[in-house]
Amino acid sequence: MSTPHVDAAAGAEPAALTLAETVARLAEAEDTLRAIGAGEVDAFVVSDGGTGRRVFTLSTADRTYRRFVESMRDGAATISSSGLILFANQRLAALLSSSVETLVGSPLAMFVAGGVPEWDMTHGPGGLGATVELDLVDSSGATVPVLAGASPLEGDGNDLTCVTFADLSVQKAQEREIARSEAQAERMVELQDAETALTEQATHDALTGLANRGLLFDRTNQALFHAKRSGLCTALLFVDLDEFKQVNDTRGHAAGDAVLQTVANRLAALLRPMDTVARIGGDEFVVLAPDIASELDAIHLSERIITELFRRPDRTADDDRFAASIGITVSGGGRGTADILLHEADTAMYQAKALGGGRAEVFDAALGRQIRERSAAQRMLQTALDESRISVHYQPILDLATGSVAGFEALARMTGRDGSIELPAAFIPVAEDSGLVVQLGAQVLAIACQQACGWPATGRGGHALTAAVNVSPRQFASGDLTMLLREMLEQTGMDPARLQLELTETAIVGLQPDVLEQLALIADLGVQIGLDDFGTGTASLTHLRRLPLTFVKLDQTFIAEIGTGTSEEGVVSAVVDLAANLGLRSIAEGVETSAQLARLRSLGCDQAQGYLFARPMPPGDVPAALARPAW
């Protein structure tokens, strides 16, 4: 993207002040787009449709907006208030048989048959506004049917609009192709609908007037039958309110019924005429969307449902906004039966709930298998814990100034009954999900304290030789971590200053007051506390200052960037500086090459660990690691 030289300050006559201001604003907008394109942005502020704004953060620094926009399946452009294209992705350029360079700076109207419509952006936040079908005109003059949606990117007096364009060519062609055979099927469906009307009472839910389970099954099987010929997709969305039980319990069944009716009305208002929404029990709603083009349509629909249910139409009270979890399953070409699809959507819905609710998850066959595998893995871990088959391996942490071993990170291992040794990746996720991590963490802590007491108290440099143990957020929630630590230190006689706890950033996000309290107590014991995965932006800067931290571990994704020549490399030095500014010791993880080591040394990073020095080793190898000459 070219950035014309604009000198807004120099030589501005008083009479031309407004013009100068306009030019400066334009330069700002151009700079903004350049920064976005160059990946210099990691959060966006998006208007939420009137009342306020939301901050939308990209989860990691290297997932830049450009990669985000370029990875979209749809065309996307940012449009100025005067209708100029300020930014376009490659996909849009391809749709228009043109280049991004040609598009940027041109009026969008040049590429839209019949002119650009008034965007209706009143429907919701962040790209969930109403969509409209348009014909784009490509560079050869041919029209391309698209579904366009617009959302605002506000800056006062400088309003930008993000517009996305989904290619409808394939769908339109399919529509024409199947129109003839469809017509006949439609007549059959109409006949069946007439019959259905006669049996209204037997097929509908009395409270909400929605379809009941029986009708949903009939319609779903009908849609699947239909899809076998059309080749189109059929989606089933299992919608479950996140806190309905609380409403019923605290405000009574009449209030609960009112909620169900409100939800039913909002769902019904969102759907196309051919869609079906059913209530199949309690707060369980199911949406059947036949004849959709792809899974993406079902995902878009789920996003609209979540937004619409969470919206407060009259902004009166919190009573009428509902968080919902949605499980989606999509059948291509009539695969499956109503029974199977409902089961799949239900499974995916539980997955959405397990991930915190207020979100949608798509079922895939692997998911069902995963769930079964997970419960087997959980039983295996429980047995290993009961039979004391957990051991600890140690990875040396080097002091970069002296090259000597400063301490070791304790890493859990699980030994199978057959003697095989499992790495943490195989059992930590299960441990975290099931809560077994509390028991696991306690065992690892006990083993590490015991074994570390057998090491020399000081390393070759004369400093205390430390053992770093990972602590899960769950261990804080369990409430007795401080007591456990006190007991361990007493039982083993370990010097608290030699023990380090490593927290993940997620442990401190939201920073519950009691976690802060526990951390203060632990720090009072003399135990060092540090943060894992530092620099990924999950924790806020103030959190870091409020915590009694002594060290941070740089996320290994940063270390991997060293020597690649990408702009991310500069991040490493900035993060080392940030740690130093916060008065924290910096430890680099995942150091694999001597080039990375040299760079970390020159940046003033304090300590490092990684395969370059040593892999995690069984406790018996620790003395040899301590005896060898400095790295």
């Binding site: 700079d31 924790a539 806020s540």
Partner: protein, 116 residues
């Protein structure tokens, strides 16, 4: 969050007594302890010390803990550096890695030794 270097603040206060009209009020909006935030903060501090030594006030606001801050500003994205004094308000989105771009966007006086 307001991050002020005390020494710098003293210098700033001294300077303001001498030349009140040359005061620069800058706010850097960042999002959490990310690499980009760290880089933008480091760049902002360095540029201020280099070109505005003793006559600036730089605050850092973390949108992650103070999302409300965006309501009262023109912030669209983070990191964003805003010059609120002297008027008119000027802003620049990005990690501030190009000195020339920062100087131009914020209409800062360009020193002779400014890198291109």
């Amino acid at each position: 969050m307001t991050s002020r270097n005390d020494a710098t603040l003293k210098q700033f206060e001294q300077a303001i007594a001498e030349t009140d009209d040359a005061k620069y009020e800058l706010t850097l909006f960042v999002s959490g302890a990310s690499g980009l935030s760290a880089r933008a903060i480091a760049n902002a501090k360095q540029l201020c010390e280099l070109y505005l030594k003793g006559r600036y006030e730089l605050s850092v606001v973390d949108l992650r803990e103070d999302p409300g801050a965006v309501l009262s500003s023109r912030v669209l994205a983070a990191p964003t550096l805003i010059r609120s004094r002297p008027l008119p308000v000027r802003l620049l989105v990005g990690d501030l890695s190009s000195t020339a771009r920062v100087l131009r966007a914020l209409e800062l006086p360009i020193a002779d030794d400014a890198p291109a």
